[in-house]
Symmetry: none
Subunit: 188 residues, 4 copies
DNA sequence: GCATAAGCGAGACGGTACGTCGCGTCTTGCC
DNA sequence: GGCAAGACGCGACGTACCGTCTCGCTTATGC
């Protein structure tokens, strides 16, 4: 083999994702056009398609970058760990315009590839959280009657539901109350 | 005042909405084309645009018509009542293509009016459910430590979350487990 | 037989034709829309279609009214009669925007019905003029070698040609020279 | 400067213009649809609109390409030369659908640029013919009383007039008669 | 004097074409 | 090989007209 050709410009990823984010905020998923993203990023359309095979994929990449900012590092204290997990998600959702979240959810439902990506993302996180819950149940720190995956649904689902459907506020007090309600009172 | 012109054909609304529904089920939101809807409904494209100024608006109309109320008729047995409430919502969500629900959510976030409408719909239902829970708590049939509104968030939110985010199935077993997890085990 | 129904409003013809004229001046044949004409005339579209079965027919009516303003009343002096005939046409063409004439010619070529109408109009006039020329030839007032119909083509055609193709001016001097050239010098 | 992008496919112009010509002959101006032209040319509609901003513009391009010069090569025999000139124009007009000629005339009246172009085309031709006539008059081969430019108007104008206004046929016999009528009988 | 028949304004409707926009692919030439 | 530039095929969008239709109302006529 000979020369492997010109290496990819590593700054392009960020520029494009930034531009896509701006467009998404301004016009939503449907209004986001690859041509405009390219122009805003100062990049050729070809260059975008070389990295992401479709608009859906591009949006997916954007989401992944956004959401992966919520970590889950269990300390062993399940109450505290879950509390921080939920608070982290709440903070992340708060940092993004609601419209964007809604559009992404809609895009996930409409575009199979986006849906797959989003689900994979969550599946990964859920696994970690579920495992921690299972451990806590085994350690007798949490009631054993509940399926860990359902507990996650209840916690995260309540946040999404408030944000997207009822529009009620999500403040630290709510997060605390939610965790309390889900895990039950401290098992002294 | 004088004649108001030829009146609108009242059957057209239903025919078009039906056709749109069929198309939506078959090809999803993006695959839904106004031309095809018109053809299927046996109606001119112009006639559709006279009623709904854009494809989005048309889909919105379809959704809101579908989102008919899930009834809540408490019997006094909170466990059973909530179980049926959740099961009813699950059934309703199951009957509608996921895309529709996602689009409604997105539309609610984008269009203030839609948002107000959707929220009003839910607020009404929530009030009834919350009241029943409060009553059950007062009767000692349910643990008193939890805010009734949060319980509703957990129940309904979990459903939406599964449907829109994780894509995990929502079957009767899940509904039972969800209610059990939320209300805690039977107080003997 | 019983009642013959409400009689047609006789003012409508003029109002509509006027409105059509205005529209035609402003936007040409293609840009003329029946809806706009109706609105401008303060009349329902139906009312227009009751009188003229199509847009082409309407335009035809307009033309007829315009062009029928050029009379031909022979006095017996062929030179003078033809001179006045040509001058009259020149004056009529001068009173109408060139664009309009061009559009009408184009409409006549495009729309069979308009074409038929225009041709009928001219045929009538030509017959009168030709006859007068024939008479003059019989009386020895004009050279007999030329077909009268061709003489008319030469006279009128030159005017149209100048107006529509070369754009050269059509002034009284030109008209005189044209007649002179066509009829030859006075036969003493 | 850098790459100028994918070059335009040079064969497309001809393919589209050809297709347009065919459609125009078959269905006339109004019946010519850009969609059909695109399909016949095996080209996307967008590609057509990239080159010609509207249907009118496309037709114009077609016309101007067709209006190739009718040659005028005087032999010194004015009768014959003019006869051939007129016959050539008649043949050219006969080869093109009348609608095209009419549309060109209309476009020339409406669009200044088109007008200038058309007039320049004719001015050039007229100059040559007028000069030949002047020469013939000087040689005593033609009556001197007539302005050469008017003779041209009469000859060509009569053709246009027949074609566009009266619709009468333009056959060789007519051409002969027209020349005879315009130039007068042979000066033996 | 009252029914009948046509005229009229208003505007919905079926069609057909228009011109635009976006996606994803392609073809250049330069780096 | 990457990249900018931009042409291209495809397919949908929303708009503008045309000519027809259906309302409710008005206006003459003639029995």
């Amino acid at each position: 083999m000979v020369g492997r050709g010109r290496p990819r410009d590593t700054e392009i990823e960020a520029k494009v994702l930034d531009a896509a984010m701006t467009e998404m905020r301004a016009r939503g998923y449907d209004g986001l056009s690859v041509d405009r993203v390219a122009e805003r990023a100062g990049v050729a359309k070809t260059t975008i398609y070389r990295r992401w095979p479709s608009k859906a994929e591009l949006v997916m990449a954007m989401i992944t970058e956004l959401t992966s900012a919520v970590p889950f590092d269990p300390t062993g204290d399940p109450r505290r760990d879950l509390g921080e997990f939920v608070a982290g998600i709440a903070a992340a959702l708060d940092a993004i315009p609601t419209t964007l979240v809604a559009d992404l959810v809609a895009a996930a439902a409409r575009e199979p590839r986006v849906g797959v990506g989003v689900r994979a993302l969550w599946a990964h996180r859920h696994a970690a959280v579920s495992e921690a819950i299972t451990q806590a149940q085994a350690d007798g720190l949490m009631p054993a009657h509940a399926d860990p995956r359902i507990i996650v649904d209840q916690l995260v689902g309540a946040l999404y539901y408030r944000l997207l459907v009822t529009g009620d506020p999500i403040d630290p007090a709510y997060v605390r109350a939610l965790v309390l309600s889900t895990l039950g009172p401290e098992q002294s």
